[in-house]
Symmetry: none
Subunit: 213 residues, 4 copies
DNA sequence: GATGAATGAGGCTTCATTCAT
DNA sequence: CATGAATGAAGCCTCATTCAT
């Protein structure tokens, strides 16, 4: 069992090294040797724990996706079916996740993009899970309020839109510029924008309902 | 003169070949030889017109950025200072640009990401211009309505958010899935979401104003 | 005939451009395009006047070799059969040629070395002519003084040695360091060294003569 | 340990292959693939041991420079402060070094010339060390004999001249022509020339001394 | 399990030379 | 004669991956 623990530690050390380097210099600009060097293991060892270079990024995406869902997704689930879940999730994302894990932002939203087809698949999958969480939350809200969104894909569209807001706002204010000191304002405005969007679609939907009934 | 024209045509043929291949198989998965082959010129000719491979993508980004501004940006400028500009721009983006130029979406939002530092700089620049157009439009609206947004960065944040919505919605429904047949609904819902977000921030701003006065 | 003159001028302009660039950045680091640019003609024109890139260096070597022989070689010929010819030649080489034509030194002694086989042949030929001049001068001296050098190849060896001294001293003090201000001392010492060498071989030869008679 | 030894052997095999090819066909005419082939390793392996092609020549120059100093330089040091050191060194250079290592002559005096700037730097450095050895020897002679050379740079100039003689005589009789069978005569004449030159400058210096006192 | 030397395919880029206009 | 766009062979180098020790 000590073996087991050591193995997991190694696995982690290597993944952390990859994370740092991918975020710092970019996926393509990082070589397996550099990862091995930073993790203080040999190249062969990296290949013992990970199938190949792509696998490292795949695993990182999984990990970050899971991390995001845990933080952001749980805000939805814990919240009752009001819009508070949306609000809380946004706050957690900007004020917690972005501030504490800028390198994860970089990997999840930037480095994993424009690479191989399998990576794109993984991105799709991870984004999909987060989107699904959001769709669930949004549908619970509409169910509770007994309203219908204007179109059958409204919930999905809103979820995707919210993801887009998170992504671009984070990239813009955290990666391209470093304005983490303004994060409170950013978070509040962004969340307000989000809430406004959802509310508007709910209003439009309600207006539509008589047609349906 | 004919020389000049032929030169420009050649330049274009090569750029079109690069566009097609980058969008299709990805930037890294495309070799200079493949581009030369598709353009029906020799490798040397590609290098006569473009400094290197990166330069091809740089030039494409510029072109697409310009194209986007022309289509989307002009919607803002032509509109009076109401939210109609925002609405029109969204409609143009989804119903015109996305439908007609999926490969440009792919390049602008996907392939140019996660590559070299200079490319990231270019992305920043092109996104910046589009964002600036949006900020202008949003500030004209607030000026006309004599209101103030809740925070000094609200306009910028909204602009960035809207860009995020465009980006992700386009990637989700056009690139990851092909749901171009639902584009009308998508466009309407997305624009409604956008308008809702802006409206909400205007409302919050207005509410704040008495404090300021 | 104006045609003729213009042609020669073009030929010269191009050769001067090549000379400058070869001396400055080196033969391999200079491209035909750069030569054409500096000469303010098109690449095609360079190829009209010179067979290829190597030809440019070949012609330059010839020109410089001729120049050297004219300056240095004539000192031998004009001098009577004393060692004054050797002395004068050295003085002319260091005080005139080196000072006024550092770029020719660079090409003749450096850039033309370590390139193609044909270039090496040309070097050999040009060095050969200069060596022959020297051999002639040295043999005239021995004939006049009715002495014999210690070995049948002594004259050749001295000629080669003197060339070696010229070459390395020039490279050392003009190209590697810039000590042209000390050129007077350099020239005098170098010539004295040369004269000493020749004198010594004459002495040794004389001593040997009784054995031969 | 065996690993270590094998590594060094590999390093050497590759360097020997480069040496042979550079001397034979020239630096620019040799490709990395050819070197790898001759060394019976893959191209990648060459790059594992050497940074790049230039590095191979750089390392060779260092090695040859060291070799030359060991053989020629030690003759100076071992000799007492008479001119015998100069004589012995010359003999060793022509009769040992040139005969046994013609390919090293080719590389040191020919191939490393007229290439990149860094290579020229290395040439300067290696020549500098040899020159310094000679300067030392010459100054010890003058100190012992209590004489002064005619000028403050006489020692340096003589050292450079002697290097020039070695270089050109070796190139002329070993590389351009193959007259290794006459090496004894060549060596004796060349050394006599050298000794004559040094002696002459000593005489001139002595003659000057009364003026100085 | 760990190591790290070895591999070699594949990519980017340069540039001397040609030739239609 | 002059031009300069086009060619394409050839070279350097990288780096993900493997495997014997």
């Amino acid at each position: 069992m000590r073996r087991q623990r050591e193995r997991e530690q190694r696995f982690n050390t290597i993944l952390r090294a990859a994370e740092t380097l991918f975020a710092d210099k970019g996926y393509h600009q990082t070589s397996m040797e550099q990862i091995a060097d930073l993790a203080e293991v040999s190249v062969g060892t990296v290949y013992f724990y990970f199938k190949n270079k792509e696998d490292l990024l795949l695993k990182l995406m999984e990990e970050i996706g899971f991390h995001l869902r845990k933080m952001v997704g749980s805000a939805f689930r814990e919240a009752d079916a009001s819009l508070d879940g949306i609000r809380d999730a946004g706050m957690v994302f900007f004020k917690e996740f972005c501030i504490k894990n800028p390198e994860r932002l970089s990997i999840f939203f930037r480095e994993a993009t424009g690479q191989s087809a399998r990576l794109e698949e993984q991105r799709k999958k991870q984004f999909g899970k987060l989107t699904d969480d959001l769709v669930d939350a949004l549908e619970r809200v509409s169910a509770r309020r007994k309203i219908q969104y204007p179109s059958p894909i409204s919930a999905e569209l809103m979820a995707v839109s919210i993801m887009g807001i998170y992504e671009r706002v984070a990239c813009h204010f955290m990666l391209w510029q470093d304005r983490s000191d303004e994060i409170l304002t950013i978070a509040e405005d962004a969340v307000a924008f989000t809430i406004g969007g959802v509310t508007n679609l709910m209003t439009l939907g309600k207006a539509k309902q008589p047609d349906d009934g």
